[in-house]
Amino acid sequence: MSQMQTDPPAERLVEEAVVAPVGVESEPTPTVRRKRRRRDVGALLGAIWLGLIVLAAIFAAILPLPAPDAIGDRFSLAPFESAAHLLGTDQLGRDQLSRAVYGARVSLSVAIGATLLGLVVGTVGGMLAGYYRKAADTAFEIVTNVLLAFPPLIFLIALVAALRPSITTLAAGLALVAVPTFARIARANTIAFADREFVTAARAMGATDLRILGREVLPNVMLPVMSFALVVAAALVVAEGSLSFLGLGVPPPAPSWGGMIASGREELYDHAHLVLVPGLFFFLTVFSLNRVGDWARGRVGRESSL
């Protein structure tokens, strides 16, 4: 959806996201050898970081870390000065590494949950609109236009102002923000595939609409939709961080990267690490999601052009 941090223009995305159908061989080009793909080191490193941070978030409880809300007696300790607090402590003496890892739990579960929810809802809605057209398409247009009528952050701010922020409400709100992107890609691809021969053949054999959508169209729509999931997830991590930074995210004492940056800001001069440590986690995660996401999108795009 158009509106997020990394969003390229929705219309172009939709265009480039229409790919060749699964299982349809492109013209064989036996004489020309396939160009060797350059390894994308950035994407590889990104994938490694994402793997590490996801594992750390999942297993945070059994890692040898102090509790994220355990108040210590050494305040605003700089990183690498104490083996007990590798990344230092915050103003209340809480371990920064532990808070960053537990913060990843909040940020990532909200962003991943919202991405999956938005993906499912958007794909179903987009496929229905693209397959049935007419009334379904009109309803689709109105719903997506209303969702897109609010600048995303304003929409989220209003939403969390109305509903108490929690992991569930944040994930639901962010999913709503993500729905139009997925829905548009799904709709465009459904339209592209609905007239293909294999769909006509399935219909001629008496397949129901449900079967056509599920068995013929969905596998072809899923690939381009999923190739956008990581880029959308990156934008949602940023959105969640922005809300936490504004004090509208998951409420304290639960640690969140945005909240850590906001509170560290007050002691920026004396203890820059209070901002730099959560900032680094934030940056690495968003950067990795974007790099791996770009790589995934490039792969899907290239498959069709081969």
Partner: protein, 316 residues
């Protein structure tokens, strides 16, 4: 989506969207937990006093009626009075609006000033030094959320180098120099991501445009490179920029909330954040409505202006 449609249908869709938006803005804030009157009533207010205040604000009316009254007022430019300060919501919005508009406008200008030369040159020499540097800087900048970028800029330029004020706002009427100093970091914070997005778009379109035959013919006629790039290739390469203007605007509006909070600027964004923490729900409602309606209208204008700028769209 951008197929030719009758203006009437377009208008009908627009009005439907605006109506649903107003309902959404109204209902959303109805759900606010907590008592909106808690801040108004004296402690230990009797039920009678409470009923009086409720009647004064119309809170004893059924929902649909309050919506219609609110909408009717909104159409006449009356969004009610702030529950907190008793100031009319419309006045408060118009008092704060110039700061936000200036911030977003300057950020857009800054982004274009940076993106046009860099994007054009990267597209002219793809794979060249500038292109590679720009690609790297872009991918890094895209992954730094604006609130983090703002904090880092404050750290470097205001805290360490002491070149600029950390936060605060100097109106242009008081001092021009002070005004520029107080707005420069917020504008960079807000404009950086947009500049990066523009550079990416412009570069890719430029690469495609420069492969066109008319560019070859211009080169064959011996025109200067700068003339070909800026005179012939820039305009057809810039249409994507226009199509993303709506997205850009949405991001800028969201960004102003962050930046105004971060730098304590008296704009619409800090107004809405204050209103939320004060449970001033009429104020929040009003701001959300005004922002959403403005956003929808500007996006519609961008859509309408598109065929005017690009003759190829008109033909199809």
């Amino acid at each position: 989506m951008r197929t030719a449609r009758s203006p009437l249908r377009r208008l009908a869709t627009l009005l439907t969207v605006l109506l649903v938006v107003s309902m959404a803005a109204f209902l959303l804030l109805e759900l606010i937990p907590g008592d909106p009157l808690a801040t108004l009533l004296p402690e230990g207010a009797t039920p009678e006093v409470r009923a009086q205040v409720e009647a004064a604000y119309g809170l004893d009316q059924p929902l649909w009626r309050r919506y219609l009254e609110w909408l009717g007022g909104a159409l006449q430019g009356d969004l009610g009075r702030s529950l907190q300060s008793q100031v009319p919501v419309t006045d408060a919005i118009f008092e704060r609006l110039p700061v936000t508009v200036e911030l977003a406008g300057l950020s857009l200008i800054l982004a274009l000033l940076v993106a046009i030369p860099v994007g054009v040159y990267s597209g002219y020499r793809p794979g060249g030094l500038l292109d590679r540097i720009a690609t790297f800087v872009c991918s890094v900048t895209l992954s730094i959320p604006n609130f983090l970028l703002g904090v880092l800029l404050v750290f470097v330029f205001a805290v360490n180098l002491r070149m600029l004020p950390v936060t605060g706002w100097t109106p242009i009427s008081r001092s021009l120099g002070g005004h520029i100093q107080s707005i420069i970091l917020p504008v960079i914070t807000l404009g950086a991501v947009e500049a990066v997005a523009f550079i990416r778009l412009l570069r890719n379109d430029m690469v495609a445009t420069l492969q066109q035959d008319y560019v070859l013919s211009a080169r064959a006629r011996g025109l200067a490179t700068a003339r070909i790039l800026f005179g012939h290739a820039l305009r057809p390469s810039s249409f994507s920029l226009v199509t993303v203007l709506g997205v850009t605007l949405g991001r800028l509006i969201g960004g102003t909330v962050i930046v105004e909070t971060l730098f304590s600027l008296p704009g619409l964004g800090s107004l809405v954040i204050n209103a939320i923490s004060n449970r001033d729900y009429l104020m929040v409602q009003g701001i959300v409505l005004v922002v959403a309606v403005a956003y929808v209208l500007i996006n519609t204008l961008v859509d309408l202006s598109y065929p005017l700028l690009d003759p190829r769209v008109r033909a199809s």
